[in-house]
Symmetry: C2
Subunit: 237 residues, 2 copies
């Protein structure tokens, strides 16, 4: 045994790879650019990864796996039985905020995935996640209908699509911002619109209050960025 492996090598390569993949997408990312940024030789890349695709997969799958963890937390069974709807709403709110904070932290990779930058072969990861998110939504919808919070005639199939679609759009808007927006405000806003549509007429007033009542005292600094309008959509030359 002589010359121990550089313990930082793989990590540095992964970091450089992430940056390059985010910048160019899988196809147009060049191994030589990755190794150059990591201060390594091209050959060393293949000491740690069997191919460019494998490195990409490693980056992308770990991110998605961590993301899926947040969905796990939202399982109905793993939340304490709430006293009432407004308490429920608060639990959801905090969990959703956590998830969006994660998205913000990992916005580079998430942007890549959401925009299909990693060739069609990796799209299934986002699709699978979206599908699971929707299933979770359905669980909650059914439960809430049973509990009498939501309208009996709610079409769970369509409502889950609408709700998960709305959060999907929020996510897509988030990951392309340069400056961190008021995430709590976004999530609260989404709740405000979506909950009312699901609720049984009798409990609408409760929700009307809940979603207003809990509006954060806004820290004067970072409340101004509104969702959307992240960039001008000019056609690249």
């Amino acid at each position: 045994m002589a010359r121990p492996v550089d313990p930082h090598a793989k990590i540095e390569l992964l970091r450089a790879a992430e940056a390059v993949f985010v910048e160019h997408g899988l196809e147009k990312a060049h191994v030589e650019e990755i190794t150059a940024r990591a201060g390594k030789s091209k050959g060393s890349f293949y000491l740690h990864f069997s191919s460019k695709e494998e490195a990409f997969r490693q980056i992308v799958e770990t991110t998605i796996a961590r993301l899926a963890g947040y969905l796990e937390q939202m399982e109905p069974a793993s939340l304490p039985e709430p006293a009432d709807l407004s308490e429920m709403i608060e639990s959801w709110f905090e969990l959703e905020v956590e998830l969006f904070e994660f998205l913000w932290q990992n916005r580079g990779v998430m942007r890549l995935l959401l925009q299909g930058g990693g060739s069609a072969d990796f799209g299934y990861l986002i699709d699978a996640f979206a599908e699971r998110a929707r299933e979770r939504t359905k669980e909650w919808l059914r439960l809430s209908v049973e509990r009498g919070h939501y309208r009996k005639d709610l079409d769970v199939e369509v409502a889950s699509l609408v709700i998960s679609g709305a959060y999907d759009r929020l996510a897509r808007a988030l990951v392309r911002l340069d400056k961190k927006p008021d995430i709590r405000g976004w999530v609260r806003g989404a709740q405000r619109v979506l909950l009312i549509g699901c609720c049984a007429p009798a409990v609408r007033e409760v929700v009307d209050q809940s979603v207003s009542e809990f509006v954060e005292p806004i820290p004067a600094s970072a409340a101004s960025v509104k969702p959307g309008g992240a960039r001008k959509f000019r056609r690249p030359a």
Copy 2:
């Protein structure tokens, strides 16, 4: 003048190109495969297009342009002043159904675009469309608030994001189906969920009725496919 140009050549090339692009995405689509499918030689491709990218752009931009036409029709100014909210709802419904029918007809190209299959250089087309759709939504929201149909305290920024996000998701679900679903049912379902959340409390009952009242008599054949669950998300080998 001798040997007139084959008048079908370009059209056949475009059709073949569309098929190949949809199947493989821009990067992995090979000119030779396109010409082979069109029964032409590789060289003939370059008699009609200056590059692979140009052909792609031609296909994609015409589709988006036609799509944008539907958005045009939805301009508040180009719709007759409605007698009441439920009449309004009906106009929206028909226009939205038309748009989704178009998406279904062009689901190949739309799927390509929505999944970023055409390299990042063309993502701006979908982004721009989504942005315009959201702007249109905002116009309607503001108008409806003015008219007293929607809640005075509606956050137009967030609501527009949620609504356009919901339709976005519907679109993404649609374009990946193999069998045509009950589009009218989908759109009606989305309306049902979204409208209530926007409405002023006073007019909620009206909407409750509208969205039920107008439910189509379902032609026994094609009402069963529900949104989502289009495929199993297995990882490709």
